[in-house]
Symmetry: C2
């Protein structure tokens, strides 16, 4: 590690907010020169409790995350929020509407809030978000809330890079939106029905409970965690203490049963494989003009199908991997 | 090719609907034994005009696709619809609500409608959808409408496996939803504002036109296609002929300028790389118990970071790729 990098890593490990913010920015920009620093950071991370919070647009998850962060603060924890923010490569900016609602806690020094957005590939956003989690973890934040929109594989991968996954549902969302959500319901350790002051909230709670009759326990082998459904209201504050308490209880459950080892296994696996895929993807991009281009020409000419071509190309890439 | 497979391929090439449906079902099930048949099918595909249609949930794209299919039918074309349907591995079923609205055209023999859903990985859904497009293409369908929900990289990859991409926006969707959509706006060759009978439709049209001031032409080099914004109403039928005509015009533009070659390049590339990634992913899964497991243990123990581990693992996988 070069001296400036080592200095930055030391500052992060000492919990200095500005150093933390700076390193996250460099990770987000895809700065390859900070890779050794991130590798070092990774080795020091692993103490924080990572809580993934996901839900479809309009489910009220941002408001919930803000309220939940305050609860953990009140319990004496340092809290960080990392939000994956869908952004347009077109406009070049992230959409900050949701985050503005977090202003009420944004000034407390024991809180760190970061919206992640990249101008490039979606895979890059997932990677940078997980780097940010490591940095905050190594920097001494005890609870890290990872907020994602529950759509798309990248978002699911990121939210599953957490020990406890909270899925937020909301009364009154259309069927079309519920359809997308279907894919994320089964990753929940804890279900939350937000906006429970609404009159149609009971229906949503009942729908979830009905669904849970089929699968009462969360996924991993031998697990006996019974998935709760918690009603919350950011307006009245109802259910927020219950939720914070339930997250703590799930954390203790993971440790007591050593279920946490299975989670760590899954997290390391998903993340490493994703990175390997991205490396493959960039190798393809880099070798565009060579052999790969010739194979793709045959795909375009319909002389060979994409599946056979992929197998051919992987063989070619193998030879170039060490370079 | 074995005799039963060859027979099935011949029936597909002769345009027999039942054979087409059967092969799509096998592709969707991930049946590896139909891989040679699909390779053969791929070599015969490539004549259809592929139109990707995407938009966020609630944008009215399913209704639009149904109406558009009727327009192409009326113009004398055989039309197929392939819809990527988000499905829950939990319930094991696809959500068919949207498709029901298509019943009015589903009985015409010159129309083929298929909702694709898989119980497994999202990557598998994208792959099966593109296989289905090949099968329909080789089976003589002249226009294939590929409908996806505009969220997630898989969906974007699939919709970009089309020559003409239509992005559907709708008046009155919340900001949170628009945020997700931001990522797909820039892939449009044609913008559609649906539900233009609504009073707030003008605002949506103006927002899109405002955005297009920054980037009037669609992406590929040297292209001079000026991206239109078309207002449609499935209720009154307004704009549907314009849209069908515009899609035809875009098709002629692609051929006249040879822009179609660049699109074919991009399509072959995206698809082949995606398959290569999936192969890598399944290799990882298969080698779980061996060297890979040991490397992942070091990631879990925080002795090595995921990035360095990915590079190590790719080197190991190389050796196993031919087996």
């Amino acid at each position: 590690l070069g001296t400036p990098s080592k200095h930055l890593v030391d500052e992060v490990l000492a919990g200095q907010t500005r150093a933390i913010a700076r390193l996250i920015t460099r990770a987000e920009a895809g700065d390859e020169e900070c890779r050794p620093a991130l590798a070092e950071i990774y080795r020091h991370a692993g103490s924080a409790h990572l809580v993934g919070i996901t839900g479809v647009p309009g489910s009220g998850k941002s408001t919930l995350v803000s309220a939940l962060a305050q609860k953990f603060l009140a319990r004496g924890h340092k809290v960080a929020v990392v939000a994956m923010d869908p952004s347009s490569p077109f406009s070049g900016g992230s959409i900050l509407g949701d985050r503005i609602r977090m202003n009420d806690i944004a000034c407390d020094p024991r809180v760190f809030i970061r919206s992640m957005a990249t101008r490039g590939a979606l895979g890059g956003l997932a990677r940078a978000s997980l780097d940010a989690v490591d940095i905050l973890d190594a920097g001494g934040f005890e609870v890290i809330l990872i907020e994602t929109v529950g759509v798309g594989q990248d978002e699911i991968d990121v939210v599953q890079a957490a020990y406890t996954t909270v899925v937020v549902s909301s009364p009154g969302l259309g069927d079309d939106i519920q359809a997308i959500k279907a894919g994320i319901l089964e990753i929940a350790d804890i279900h939350v029905v937000s906006k429970c002051d609404r009159s149609d909230a009971n229906k949503t709670v009942n729908d979830l409970k009905q669904m849970l009759l089929l699968n009462t326990y969360s996924e991993t082998n031998g697990s006996k965690w019974s998935i709760p459904v918690i009603s919350t209201s950011a307006t009245t504050g109802q259910g927020l203490d219950d939720l914070a308490e339930m997250i703590d209880r799930h954390r203790r459950y993971l440790t007591d049963t050593d279920e946490i080892s299975a989670r760590r296994q899954r997290m390391a696996e998903t993340r490493t494989i994703k990175i390997a895929e991205n490396i493959i993807r960039s190798k393809f991009a880099a070798q565009q003009r060579g052999t790969i281009s010739k194979t793709l020409q045959r795909v375009i000419a319909r002389q060979v199908d994409p599946h056979s071509a992929a197998i051919e190309l992987l063989a070619v890439l193998n030879e170039g991997l060490d370079k």
